[in-house]
Amino acid sequence: MSGEVLRMENITKIYSNGFVANKDITFWLNEGEILALVGENGAGKTTLMKVLFGLENAQSGSVLVREQPVRIQNTLDAIAKGIGMVHQHFMLVPSLTVAENVALGIEPMKKGTFDYNKAVEMTREVAEKYHFNIDPRRKVMDLSVGQMQKVEIMKVLIRGAKIIIMDEPTAVLTPQETDELFEQLILLKESGHSIIFISHKLEEVKRICSRVTVLRHGRCLGSYELADMSESDISKLMVGRDVVLKIEKKQPRPGKVVVHIKDLTKINEMGKTVLDGISLDIRAGEVVGIAGVEGNGQSELSDVLSGLGIFSSGEVLINGASITGKTVHQIRQLGLAFIPEDRMLFGCAGDMSIRDNIIADRFFKPQYRKGMFINRKYIDKMVDRCIQRFEIACDDRNQPVRLLSGGNIQKVVIAREFTSGSNFILANQPTRGIDVGTAEMIRKTIVRKSREEKIASLLISADLNEVLECSDRLLVMRKGKIVAAFRQANLVSEGELGEYMLGIKTMTAKEMEGVL
């Protein structure tokens, strides 16, 4: 265990839309160690690694490999310096064999053609050296997920990488596959490789890493020896608010049940259980928030409730009617209003005008039409009112939506969904990527609508401020299950919330009884 094999100093990365992903981050990796790089979604871990691997360029800062400053401008530079990245989403070609995938780009040649047998041999060597039990001649699409990951690792090793970046490697693995992976990583460590292990699963971090670097909101909070820290300590660093914003609100007076979910389960195409027996009631006049690290079933829940995705079993009732087998149109008629996670993809038609976007969910209703024709006058008046009420900054109602700023585009989405006359609002990351002013307005509106208009709202958000301040009841989702339920969100401490989000603690069914 000698000196530093890698050091990144004062790295600052700002994206072209002004978003500061990395703020002056410094950390280092010692030779032969497994370093954990932790932080919530959006903390800047992935960006930092992209900079290291040459996929992005930083505005300022420097990278040193074995104490020598280096310039990494593309992935080939990084590979040349001995850095390899095992991506979270595999970079494999399914119809090709393991050997072909591993050798892609560095193919051995014989008499001008691709020497497949040599590639197989090369792959077998690496596999045997590091105890990967994979037949190089098998097609990648026939492999299990865990085996595919091993192929990714072999790709990295065969190119001579000594510094290996593992990006959330266990996100897709079963427990047994995770054990196998960890055995491999320890083996690699002992043969002189150095590993950066990106994760938010603290039990794993404690298991195989020796040090941890914590990122939060683009900044580095420090690097620590894991022997000295408990999972709680780490969680407190990872999960926290820099600025606490409080919203004025009255006590909620929940009325009847608007949305009833019972034992909702969904198994996706890969056979993975992404929603595991979710049961939850949302009442009129309250805001139910769902906190949790992304990728634990929140998107799937949103898809199921909005009708964009199907589910395997369970019951979902909106205003007493089941949504099973119903189209999006029908579910909206039952009372759903929906703010999608990706507003450009599902929330608007960029080339069309503000007016056309606002009426997208209601154009067929009698008051908006005169038989076959669109009732221009009525619609224009309504849209102008929306523009005023929601303070949409634009030239006029005919302006194409894509010309607006992100915040104003979201305002168009909000204007439509909040005036739809429905009594259930499903808001999925409603303030992601927009300015503070608009975000505040959106949050205040959600709270106001619940109090004044007795709307039932489900707020799914990765933003702690939002979810702690806007929600009345607060739930935490992890691995497709609800693992915590709090009756009063604004009384929950961040530390406690973090522990549930990261799996350090879990509530029993008894504890959550009555709160769901």
């Binding site: 002004g18 969910d361 154009f363 039409r369 024709f373 669109i374 900054a393 030239d395 010309l403 933003d463």
Partner: protein
């Protein structure tokens, strides 16, 4: 009108003119390069179409089928489906309508009724034919371009067969049908210009389609589906219905085009090969940027180009096919412009952003 709208509208108009201008330029350069008397040829090309009332009339007459097929393709293009069956529909509708006209000729129906029936027949043909690629695409994911093109070829043969076995007039020398009864023909109007009255039908069609596109619920659905299919789905719009209905509407217009073409210009049904008007419609729709109101403008411009080439061709120098080349080049240019256009729009967006007083540093983080 606001600033950005003004920029956008001007850009659109300029774009059409620039594209046609480039086409013209290429045509002129070609003519200069290959003819012996370039000045004369150019004068014929530029001014030929205006040289007589007859010629001006032919420009308008040619713009009529271009308008119909242009409107047809506007529908296909609006929902992003390259259903090219307009070509086959045009020809086959003309054939079936001729058959119907000849069969119904002796029944003593008054002209307006006859014409309405025949136009309905033409549109029905278009409806049925365009349904085939549309449905096969939705149900079986069969490549819509290939199916519609194969269908066009089959319809061409079918039309010839119908002509040969049901309508052939043995007394005339060339291949042609019996005379189409006068009561079924579209009269000539505008005196010496000799324009066929399909002109009015085309105008009505333009107005009808424009109203449909911009003022009806269905038109709205079509445009949303074409703009962002995911958003359409998330808003609860029925994708399948909308997409198929749009193609059916397009087919009906192509059918109407074939009907008016035969009834307005011919004594007998004589087509033994495709008229290529279906593909001209594609160019018109691309030029008109899917906007039905601009279709007649693009149609006239294209017709002017064609008649100019015709004039030149009639002197024996240049074959008509070089116009097809120009058309292809224009489509490429306009499609490329579409990309350049997006870049231009991004510039406008950036400028707009700078105007707006948004504090970019305080973007929400997650």
């Amino acid at each position: 009108m606001s600033k950005t709208r003004r920029i956008e509208t001007t850009v659109e108009l300029v774009r059409i003119l620039v594209a046609v201008g480039i086409a013209y330029g290429i045509a002129l350069v070609t003519l200069i390069a290959i003819s012996d008397d370039p000045v004369y040829i150019i004068r014929q090309f530029l001014l030929g179409p205006f040289s007589s009332a007859r010629r001006i009339g032919s420009v308008i007459n040619l713009a009529i089928p271009f308008t119909f097929t242009g409107l047809c393709f506007c529908f296909m293009y609006a929902v992003n489906k390259f259903n090219l069956s307009g070509e086959g529909i045009f020809m086959f509708a003309g054939c079936i309508v001729s058959l119907a006209a000849i069969s119904l000729g002796g029944k003593g129906l008054p002209a307006p009724v006859m014409l309405l029936i025949l136009m309905a027949v033409g549109m029905a043909v278009g409806f049925v034919v365009s349904l085939i690629p549309a449905w096969l695409d939705v149900k079986f994911h069969a490549n819509i371009v290939v199916v519609s093109l194969m269908l066009n070829s089959m319809l061409a043969f079918l039309s010839v067969w119908v002509l040969k076995y049901f309508m052939r007039d043995p007394s005339i020398g060339s291949m042609g049908s019996f005379m189409i009864p006068d009561v079924a023909k579209l009269a000539l109007i505008f005196g010496k210009f000799r324009v066929q009255s399909g002109f009015f039908v085309a105008l009505i069609a333009v107005v009808f389609v424009a109203v449909l596109f911009f003022k009806t619920v269905f038109g709205y659905k079509m445009r949303i589906v074409g703009s962002n299919a995911n958003f359409a789905k998330a808003s609860g719009i029925n994708m399948t219905n909308t997409v198929i209905l749009a193609q059916l509407a397009g087919g009906m217009l192509a059918g109407l085009g074939g009907t008016c073409e035969i009834l307005g210009n011919y004594d007998r049904y004589k087509w033994v090969a495709g008229t290529q008007h279906g593909f001209d419609g594609l160019m018109v729709a691309v030029l008109a940027r899917k906007n039905p109101l601009l279709v007649p403008v693009a149609a006239i411009l294209l017709a002017y180009l064609r008649i100019g080439a015709d004039v030149v061709n009639s002197r024996g120098d240049i074959p008509i096919e070089f116009i097809t080349v120009i058309q292809g080049i224009v489509i490429l240019l306009v499609a490329a412009e579409e990309f350049m256009g997006r870049y231009k729009k991004r510039l406008i967006y950036k400028a707009a952003e700078e105007d707006m007083k948004e504090d970019r540093e305080h973007v929400c983080l997650h």
